[in-house]
Symmetry: C2
Subunit: 228 residues, 2 copies
């Protein structure tokens, strides 16, 4: 099919528009269509040509539900099949908790060419601006990243708190605020050193309030006062 | 001290020069001095003004030894104290196995202003170009990153292979080639599913030979034939 375009999965980085990569910014400047959601900085859309399509897949309107991943994936394939160069702009890195893997494999299955432009993961970017190196050979040389939105009193395949408590030096828990107290209890009863520095915070906290050496336990999510 | 400059720790990203962030490239364009090593793309030095100092701390000369971390840190502080804006250009992300934490805390201790510009970690960047999402909700929702250059038959504080075997879905082992056989043995005897997809490779392998879904075990280091 001579009219086939392509899909470029671009990581927008952790929030500030100038933390996108040079390659990602260049991809936006050459886009025929940009498919974005609430996780990427809106000012990045200004990099795309004025005539480029700009499609928000984070929401449809004030009272309409968010699009499903299947709808978003179908949209990408349809636009590319029309011959367009489609930038799928995603917060952080497309392949780190970003569902980019699903979009990439859908392209592969449909025979649509695709590229991936990695981005600064919000995991590391947010920590860096909070003054926290995720590794530091003086303190910690390994880390594990897990999501904390599952019920920590249940033993699930996904989250083995009993092993995670001691498996890695730094433990980063995403979306952990709702279950924070139970997660802390599970980690401590499973042998995590209670003296491990820890910090809980959200994007609504001032980064200047964070300063914690590795190894540490970190939980991010909705606002909560910082605690040591 | 009115003449004090500053140190900007800039992550150069995983290799290709255009995978630096826009902010990192801007910092190079305004640098009075760039302190770099072998892990950052040399062509990035061209972004700095012609008159900027360019100092290679990866090696001193053909027959002289690599500088120690202490020498590099002292150099950064000395240049900034002279009033220069010093970019410390580091491969990947400054705070991910990059010793950026040591350089940042030395600046803080010396009263030298510093900034951190995160970069695309080589961990994620290399995997993305190898076709491997480190997470994919269809297969894996957590990951752990460890170094594999320690002797895996010894139980060290740093590397708890017995726990890591089952703690996280995707396990990424850096610098693991030398001890690969022993690491695999330790992981399997500690309960890692032998059916877990795995891939071993190095920067000398063609990325196109890699294609592995999460969860998986990955080891990178010096060249070795890929195996499933």
């Amino acid at each position: 099919m001579s009219g086939t375009g392509k899909v470029i999965l671009v990581g927008a980085g952790p929030g500030a528009p100038d933390l996108i990569t040079v390659r990602g910014a260049d991809a936006l400047r050459r886009a025929d269509a940009v498919v974005y959601d609430a996780l990427a900085a809106k000012s990045l859309l200004d990099l795309a040509p004025p005539e480029a399509l700009r499609i928000d897949v984070g929401k449809r309107g004030h009272d309409e539900p968010t699009r499903t991943q299947e709808e978003t994936t179908s949209l990408l394939l349809r636009l590319a099949a029309q011959g367009l160069t489609v930038v799928r702009l995603k917060g952080g890195d497309p392949y780190v908790f970003g569902r980019g893997g699903e979009e990439a494999s859908a392209c592969a299955a449909a025979g649509i060419p695709f590229e991936v432009v990695p981005g600064v993961s919000s995991i590391f970017g947010a920590l860096a601006y909070a003054g926290i190196p995720i590794t530091d050979r003086r303190h910690g040389a390994s880390f594990a990243v897990v999501t904390g939105h599952k019920d920590p009193t249940k033993v699930t395949r996904e989250t083995r708190w009993d092993l995670l408590a001691r498996a890695a030096d730094t433990l980063l828990i995403l979306m952990g605020m709702r279950n924070l107290a139970q997660i802390v209890d599970r980690l401590l009863e499973s042998g995590r050193n209670p003296a491990t520095p820890s910090r809980a915070g959200s994007k609504h906290d001032s980064a200047s309030r964070w300063s914690t050496p590795a190894p540490c336990s970190i939980s991010t999510g909705r606002p909560l006062p910082c605690s040591t």
